[in-house]
Symmetry: C2
Subunit: 202 residues, 2 copies
């Protein structure tokens, strides 16, 4: 069995959302699985790289607003969020994910899809453990357990370690796919990943 | 006749170089021509956006070094420049281009290809008018005229106005293609432009 494709993303990233809807089919076409690894753009972009948030960057922010809507149309992916709305606190959804990945691993990917859908298709706020627990959770996940898990020290530690590992691995953007050590940044590179997997690299 | 595709790029941009090798065939497939418009990343990225140069950005710089080599291999485009070498002064090649575009318009695109090739395939320095004039110029362009044109006030004004117009148009990255008012940033978006032109947009 070939190694899983590492899929790094932030739930607050629209391009991460677009990739989340395509990455499993992409991997399956090549007999691969996907290891979902939320990271934090607030750490990578703002702290480590010293840049501004994408949408707050002059010129590029306006382009991104237009491009996100255009990509959603092209891919037929629902987008119900006001791009100018505050993204809120990105920690609760990411902590919830890592806690579920640890304790209910089979529910982690369904939860990731549910979180992306709640945030990007429904425009919901995910800034608190209660808000995360209030989304349409996958069957088998109780809201009370999600709140308890998301607020646990364990979840905070799991996320902190995952983010540190992502920086250590050189990951700076959402989405980034790593295939057998080869990193591909950007949802517009999924076609490159497809080609790379088909031909074994170039 | 449909409007030309506006092609914004900086000669010091490797992704601009990659696009320069593909954009004419892309346009021709759809019965379009290309209007070549050098811009200055030093103005757009450093001054207007307030960001660092790509290769000096933590994490992203290392990724870009790897990605540039990978894209060159994939596209079969010669790359003979040390990516860590100083890019030098980007003004002379851009001024030379706009001067030639004004006085010998039929030689402007051949000159652009020659400049990209000298910089990226041969790794030459283009930091001075003399260095620009020393490359393999298109037939019909004399080195002495290139030096005189590149150092002229007219060339400086043409470039200054073109850069201001690019910022006004919201252009921030190299390459950017604008098709009927629709901007596409990044050499990995050429496939999107192809699709957009084929179907009339989405």
């Amino acid at each position: 069995m070939a190694a899983p494709i590492a899929f790094y993303f932030d739930f607050i990233s629209p391009y991460g959302y677009f990739a989340s809807r395509q990455v499993e089919a992409l991997a399956a076409r090549h007999g691969r699985t996907v290891d979902w690894r939320p990271m934090l753009l607030g750490v990578a972009v703002l702290k480590v790289m010293g840049l501004k948030p994408l949408l707050d960057t002059p010129l590029k922010g306006d382009y991104a607003r237009r491009d996100v809507l255009r990509q959603a149309r092209r891919l037929g992916i629902p987008l119900g969020r006001d791009l100018n709305a505050s993204v809120g606190n990105p920690l609760p959804p990411a902590r919830a994910f890592y806690w579920v990945k640890r304790h209910h691993p089979e529910l982690a990917v369904p939860l990731a899809h549910a979180l992306f859908h709640a945030f990007w298709a429904e425009g919901r706020d995910l800034s608190t453990p209660e808000a995360v627990a209030a989304i349409a959770l996958p069957a088998g996940l109780e809201p009370a357990a999600v709140i308890e898990g998301t607020t646990s020290d364990e979840a905070a530690t799991l996320l902190r370690n995952a983010v540190a590992a992502s920086i250590q691995a050189g990951i700076f953007g959402s989405p980034t796919l790593v295939v057998d050590g080869e990193p591909f940044w950007g949802s517009d590179r999924l076609r490159d990943v497809d080609e790379w997997l088909a031909c074994g690299g170039w």
